[in-house]
């Protein structure tokens, strides 16, 4: 049933004197005063003492992991269709410490959530250990890590772009500050000083002495919401290729192309695969290159087959085309004796001339340039072997965005001295 009562009738589960209960009541009061119903409110809770809040709110709730509630809340907020719903994320200082990245990311994007930080300066559920938000004055009393300052989550959130960031230290300001935070269109964060009577102080004034000053910051921003776009099937953009030419390939041919990054090797391999398709063949293609794609070797394997290809590996390639040192150095240890090797003239040396394979040298780089050499060599192979029609390659190139240059590379093969 939809109602304007946010707080449930469940008894507060906190230790006697704990500050968390006051913060919970203030959240409910702020929401009620702003007119939110229980079905408009989504509480996202973390782990720790602050994570006990779910049953206290008679609202929607989602209880996640330690430190992750702000990220979970971002997902909820972006996933909601109705922007009038309010996502309130509650976590402690320990949660902020673990999930600092999530808070900054939510602030950076100015996602429409309100993050309530219940800072009791310590991890209450595990025995009172200090957190990243424990103040130095507090740590001085414990003679522990006194030289390590706390994260100022309020300033960090502000610097990251939060629409509203504040610290509240006086109980009588809680509801008003929360109303300001909740009313902000975008990311808001309020850090509260919360008394832990079990592990820190028995009295509120003792806590206030060690706590940072109250403050409020604003960034005038509009929130980032989920972008929705209508998209079209990617399959519609794929070019339909039907058989137009004949091929002499019986069963299967495997071709390896090897060169340098940026040398058009992958592009030539793709053109070879589609040339096969224009010739009525099934084809596969895969590339291999270093993770740094702009340098070093570039290798591509193409299989052309009269039947659909299942296994796409290439144990013994029929033809290996190598147009640069990078390609040769990568591949030379793995030359199979039955492969025909087509090499650029620049690779003529003792090593290549002593190969037992059938070897052909061509001046591909000089004739077609570095970027056209692989394609020129390919054109040579297609023409010389007669395995496919050179017109099928030209057809394949014709719809390419650099078709003019590529056709020149093919023609270069026809004039080059082999």
């Amino acid at each position: 049933m939809t109602k304007n009562k946010i707080l449930s009738k469940v008894k507060m589960p906190f230790c006697q004197g704990c500050g968390h209960g006051i913060i919970v009541r203030s959240i409910a009061k702020a929401m009620e005063q702003l007119g939110y119903s229980n079905h408009d409110t989504i509480i996202v809770s973390d782990i720790g003492c602050s994570g006990l809040v779910d049953p206290l709110f008679d609202t929607h709730s989602i209880h996640g992991l330690h430190g992750r509630a702000p990220a979970l809340g971002v997902g909820v907020s972006l996933g909601l269709d109705n922007p009038n719903k309010k996502v309130i994320v509650i976590q402690g200082d320990g949660g902020v410490t673990i999930g600092l990245q999530h808070v900054l990311e939510a602030a950076r994007r100015n996602i429409d959530i309100t993050l309530v930080v219940m800072n009791n300066l310590l991890y209450g559920m595990t025995g009172g250990q200090i957190s990243g938000l424990s103040t130095q004055k507090f740590k001085e009393q414990r003679h522990f890590e006194v030289d390590v300052p706390p994260f100022d989550i309020v300033k960090l959130a502000h610097a990251s772009g939060a629409a509203f960031s504040a610290r509240a230290t006086s109980i009588k300001t809680y509801t008003d500050i929360l109303k300001d935070a909740i009313e902000v269109n975008g990311f808001s964060i309020v850090e509260f000083s919360s008394l832990c009577t079990s592990y820190a102080f028995k009295k509120l004034d003792e806590l206030q002495e060690v706590f940072e000053e109250a403050e409020v910051y604003r960034n005038e921003r509009i929130p980032v919401r989920a972008h929705h776009k209508k998209t079209k099937s990617l399959l519609n953009n794929l070019k339909i290729i039907e058989k137009e030419f004949d091929s002499k390939i019986e069963k299967r041919a495997g071709i390896v192309l090897a060169g340098s990054a940026g040398g058009g090797v992958q592009s030539a391999a793709k053109l070879l695969a589609t040339t096969g398709m224009f010739s009525g063949l099934h084809s596969t293609m895969k590339g291999e290159y270093p993770v740094t794609v702009g340098t070093g070797f570039s290798i591509a394997e193409v299989i052309l087959s009269t039947t659909p290809v299942k296994y796409t590996g290439l144990e013994t390639p029929d033809v290996v085309i190598i147009v640069s040192d990078d390609g040769w150095n990568k591949i030379k240890g793995n030359i199979k004796e039955n492969s025909t090797i087509i090499l650029d003239n620049s690779l003529k040396n003792e090593e290549t001339e002593s190969l037992k394979n059938k070897v052909v040298f061509g001046d591909f780089n000089r004739a077609a340039g570095k970027r056209g050499a692989a394609l020129a060599a390919l054109a040579y192979w297609i023409n010389d072997s007669g395995m496919m029609d050179i017109e099928a390659l030209k057809k394949s190139v014709s719809s390419h965005k650099y078709s003019k240059v590529l056709l020149e590379a093919i023609e270069a093969r026809l004039t080059v001295f082999i």
């Binding site: 695969a273 596969t284 590996g313």
Partner: protein, 364 residues
């Protein structure tokens, strides 16, 4: 015919099945999913890290939107915390896991089949997270659809297990071979009153109703919880709820049992494989039969939970050969443990694809 890759088919199948948002963090060899995701998904978000990605996905799912992400093992390692959370919360989502050579960062651009054991044990307490695998292009399409249907039907994250060579190899393909995919109906239409977020009937899956709706108060919880979705430990209702996470799959396993079984009359040998190695096994089986061998082939697609039907098939044969691109045979170990019967043998390799000739040699 068109020239395409399985990353594109899987992306397309996701959107056709009704996936709403792709939340990505770039990693090789899942890069193409990220690239296609930006072009095709109705919404796309660039997460700052994989931990955040999984949290955002869970938030979206709790709010009623179907999220998809794609990663590799290093990303999965970070996501596992959130995957456990989403599993306990019972939130539908799809995670595409592109396997690459490990351990650790290993070789980003070398394929592998090394992550099944991790996926099998990803949920604390050994609750099964559905793991589906695919090999051929038609399979990538169909299994993506089944993965999304399963995620919604069982309110669970599902892993689509793939590998570099499966999703980064282009092939000529006839698109007319693909079956029609219709958007999967997400939300429960039948809700038992009074509504309790985790109360279930005999289907053993709670109704899927989004956070923030105006009719029902929804409570989602990752900690041990009762039917109301509130933390309650050492309580019979909460324990039943926890046990149900396993039982819902066990009782309804037939609904998510997928495999291809190519039997041959008189065969006493069986090749068992999945994913990328299935391609080589299909070639090997043709060669073996041509040479007079009597042999059957089982390509498993429901990896986790293990369907009883799959084990029944293995039990029927005198010799069972597991073909997997890893050391020692991970799937074999999941099925038979460390003490496999003598009839079980393996063909394994790392660093490159297992070839049909290696399988043929091992069988003969």
């Amino acid at each position: 015919m068109v020239f395409t890759d399985a990353s594109m088919l899987i992306t397309e199948a996701c959107v056709k099945a009704g996936a709403d948002v792709f939340i990505g963090y770039p990693i090789t060899p899942s890069n193409r999913f990220y690239q296609y995701g930006t072009q095709r998904f109705p919404s796309f978000l660039a997460g700052p890290d994989e931990i955040t990605v999984m949290q955002w996905m869970a938030g979206y799912s709790a709010a009623g939107k179907f999220p998809v992400s794609a990663t590799a093992f290093p990303g999965l390692a970070l996501m596992t915390e959130g995957l456990n959370m989403a599993y306990a919360m019972e939130l539908p989502m799809l995670l595409i896991l592109t396997q690459r050579l490990g351990p650790s960062t290993g070789s980003a651009t070398t394929g592998a089949q090394g992550d099944l054991m991790f996926a099998n044990g990803a949920i604390s307490g050994h609750y099964p997270i559905p793991v589906f695998s695919h090999s051929e292009f038609e399979d990538s399409w169909d299994m993506t659809y089944e993965a999304i249907k399963t995620a919604i039907k069982f309110r669970t994250p599902v892993i689509l297990l793939t590998s570099k060579e499966l999703v980064m190899t282009n092939k000529s393909f006839d698109l007319s071979q693909l079956k029609e995919i219709k958007p999967v109906e997400k939300f429960s239409t039948k809700v038992e009153e009074p509504y309790k977020p985790y109360k279930t009937g005999k289907e053993m899956v709670p109704p899927y109703i989004p956070l923030g709706n105006d009719k029902y108060q929804v409570r989602v919880n990752a900690s041990t919880h009762n039917d109301a979705g509130l933390i309650k430990k050492n309580d019979p209702e909460s324990m039943a709820n926890t046990r149900r996470l396993k039982e819902k799959f066990e009782k309804r396993i037939d609904e998510i049992t997928f495999y291809d079984f190519d039997d041959q009359e008189g065969a006493d040998k069986l090749i068992v494989t999945y994913g990328i190695s299935a391609d080589a096994a299909r070639d090997a089986i043709t060669e073996l039969r041509d040479s007079g061998e009597k042999i059957a082939l089982l390509i498993v697609k429901t990896m986790i939970p293990i369907p009883p039907k799959v084990m029944e098939i293995m039990d029927r044969f005198d010799s069972v050969i597991f073909v997997e691109e890893n050391i020692g045979g991970i799937y074999k170990e999941i099925i038979y443990g460390k003490n496999a019967p003598i009839k079980v043998s393996t063909v394994n390799k790392i660093g490159s694809l297992i070839s049909p000739s290696e399988i043929v040699k091992a069988v003969k």
